[in-house]
């Protein structure tokens, strides 16, 4: 028997959470309430922040206010930060609820408790700049993780290009600012967009451009690399990426953990234990991610945070979290329903769920430093997870809590990624890639871990057109325009 009246609360309004909320509102009757709690007043199409970061788009082109969309669609919106979960209720409030603190200016710092029948945790990453001293906009490096950060990065880049035009050679370093970062694909994109802009400005010969990464090999992208079928041969993403680096004259520092950043100097350790420095005039280094700072308490107010969340702050779901060596990792370790391992009416999706382990082989330096790309949760899988949780909740509201959960494991899910390598409808390019599955399954696909037929990469102008098209398509979808749900996640 289903619920007559249910309230579903979605924490977070990024790709995963916003997708979940829109689908829930579309599917559920008006008797049921869909609530979104997000500290941000705007939605951001993050993949296009790269273009904001090179001055080719503005913040307004990659963001829009959430409140009018939610009002139009009949979704209750709280511009607030979720601080604690009470999945069993509390001494003060019997029903399961989440505590929030408002970030909306009219209610700044007010707190409230919002009850729920179902909760989706789609809080995304906490940008952990603090993990590396000197990292980030409050330190000495730029970021493209948010639209405002990317705007600052573009201004710094313009300053560096100006210096090069005045005859000053400049050192540009782009990559990741910690040994456990993810989103190497985004760092790769920004590297080649910067190279493209520097070349277009006519000062390429004045720039030393270096890609600094925790990947052991180029082309790893945090997914252990890929094998493509090309011209009758199997080729690796390593070779394919190295070719692009050679073609565009970009240097690479691999297997690096950034320890500390000082003005103009990046201090890093590599997998072999060596410690080095890299001077820079402009640096964009992505931060590592943590989960949002959410706590959890049981019915009598005892802290059960460690039962609900991993030490990383990401939510434990239906994954196999048994610690085991790389050789024993399996595709089945990965979650598929995204239900909390502790509470069946709570889901963790997108970047908010705790992965069972990395995808790429982790490495530790002789000094004991972990240098291991964290698994990426890109836009497409994140949107699919949000929709999957929404469909499960819809079924349980309609048919009862025993309704079978929908499934979408990254080990059985394909992904399409487009990594821009420079803008321009006539002169841009991008690397368009597909991989199936995202998480390699060596038992099913043998030594490559993936279907070679369905794993593919190609560089060209068409890739740029696709990324540009996706920019408009996904903003149309996120604004819930007519027939938005026909655009796949």
């Amino acid at each position: 028997m289903g619920c007559t009246v249910a309230r579903v609360v979605v924490l977070g309004a990024g790709i995963s959470g916003h997708t979940a909320a829109l689908h829930l509102r579309r599917l559920l009757g008006k008797a049921h309430e869909v609530v979104v709690v997000s500290p941000n007043s705007k939605w951001n199409w993050i993949p296009s922040n790269i273009w904001v970061g090179v001055g080719k788009m503005t913040t307004d082109q990659v963001t829009f206010p959430l409140a009018p969309i939610y009002k139009r669609k009949g979704i209750t919106f709280h511009q607030a930060l979720a601080t604690a979960l009470y999945p069993e209720g509390s001494p003060d409030m019997q029903s399961p609820h989440v505590s929030v603190k408002y970030t909306e200016p009219a209610r700044l710092n007010e707190t409230a408790n919002i009850s729920y029948d179902y909760l989706i945790n789609a809080t995304g990453p906490k940008l952990n700049f603090a993990a590396t001293p000197g990292l980030g906009p409050d330190g000495y490096t730029a970021s493209v993780c948010t639209a405002p950060h990317a705007t600052e990065a573009a201004a710094q880049l313009a300053g560096v290009i100006s210096k090069m035009k005045n005859g000053e050679r400049q050192r540009l370093v782009i990559g990741v600012g910690h040994g456990t970062c993810t989103c190497e694909g985004a760092a790769f994109e920004y590297t080649f967009n910067v190279e493209h802009e520097v070349r277009a400005a006519g000062v390429r010969d004045m720039a030393d451009i270096t890609y600094l990464t925790n990947e052991f090999e180029l082309g790893d992208f945090g997914v252990g690399g890929m094998t493509f079928s090309q011209s009758g041969f199997e080729t690796t993403s390593k070779l394919w990426t190295e070719s692009l680096f050679r073609e565009r004259g970009v240097n690479a520092v691999l297997g690096a953990h950034v320890e500390k950043i000082e003005p103009g100097v990046i201090n890093y350790e590599q997998v072999d234990g060596s410690k080095n420095q890299l001077g820079f005039d402009f640096a964009m280094l992505l931060p590592p991610f943590r989960g949002a700072d959410l706590q959890a308490f049981n019915a009598i107010g005892e802290d059960v945070t460690s039962e609900v969340f991993a030490p990383s702050g990401f939510m434990k779901v239906d994954a196999n979290y048994t610690a085991k060596p790389y050789e024993e990792w399996r595709a089945e370790d990965w979650p598929s329903t995204y239900e909390s391992s502790r509470f069946p009416n709570v889901f963790g999706v997108g970047i908010a769920f705790a992965p069972p382990h990395q995808i790429s082989r982790p490495r530790t330096s002789p000094n004991g430093t972990l240098i291991a790309p964290a698994p990426p949760r890109t836009g497409m899988p994140s949107g699919v997870m949000g929709k999957t949780a929404a469909l499960t909740i819809y079924d349980r509201i309609k048919m009862g809590p025993a309704a079978t959960a929908h499934r979408a494991s990254m080990a059985t899910m394909g992904a399409a990624c487009v990594a821009s390598a420079g803008t321009g409808l006539r002169h841009g390019s991008a690397a368009a890639m597909t991989m199936y599955p995202v998480v390699p399954d060596y038992q099913r696909f043998g030594s490559t871990g993936r279907s070679v037929k369905d794993t593919f990469g190609e560089i060209g102008l068409a890739g740029h057109w696709i990324k540009y098209m996706l920019h408009f398509a996904f903003i149309y979808k996120a604004k819930a325009r007519p027939l938005w749900y026909l655009i796949p996640e």
Binding site: S243, A408, G414, A432, A462
Partner: protein, 48 residues
């Protein structure tokens, strides 16, 4: 020369034909259609 630098230096460069194809409007229009179809096929795999 470190290993990353050596690997990059030894990697193959695209041919002139490949470089032309990457920017040829007619060829890339066909690739746009083909890549979209490939991506659409990918998107439909795996979730249920």
């Amino acid at each position: 020369m470190d290993e990353a630098k050596a690997n990059i230096a030894a990697s193959p460069l695209p041919t002139e034909q490949t470089l032309r194809r990457r920017k040829n409007l007619v060829f890339q229009a066909w690739r746009f259609a083909a890549l979209n179809l490939r991506m659409l096929t990918m998107i439909t795999k795996g979730s249920h």
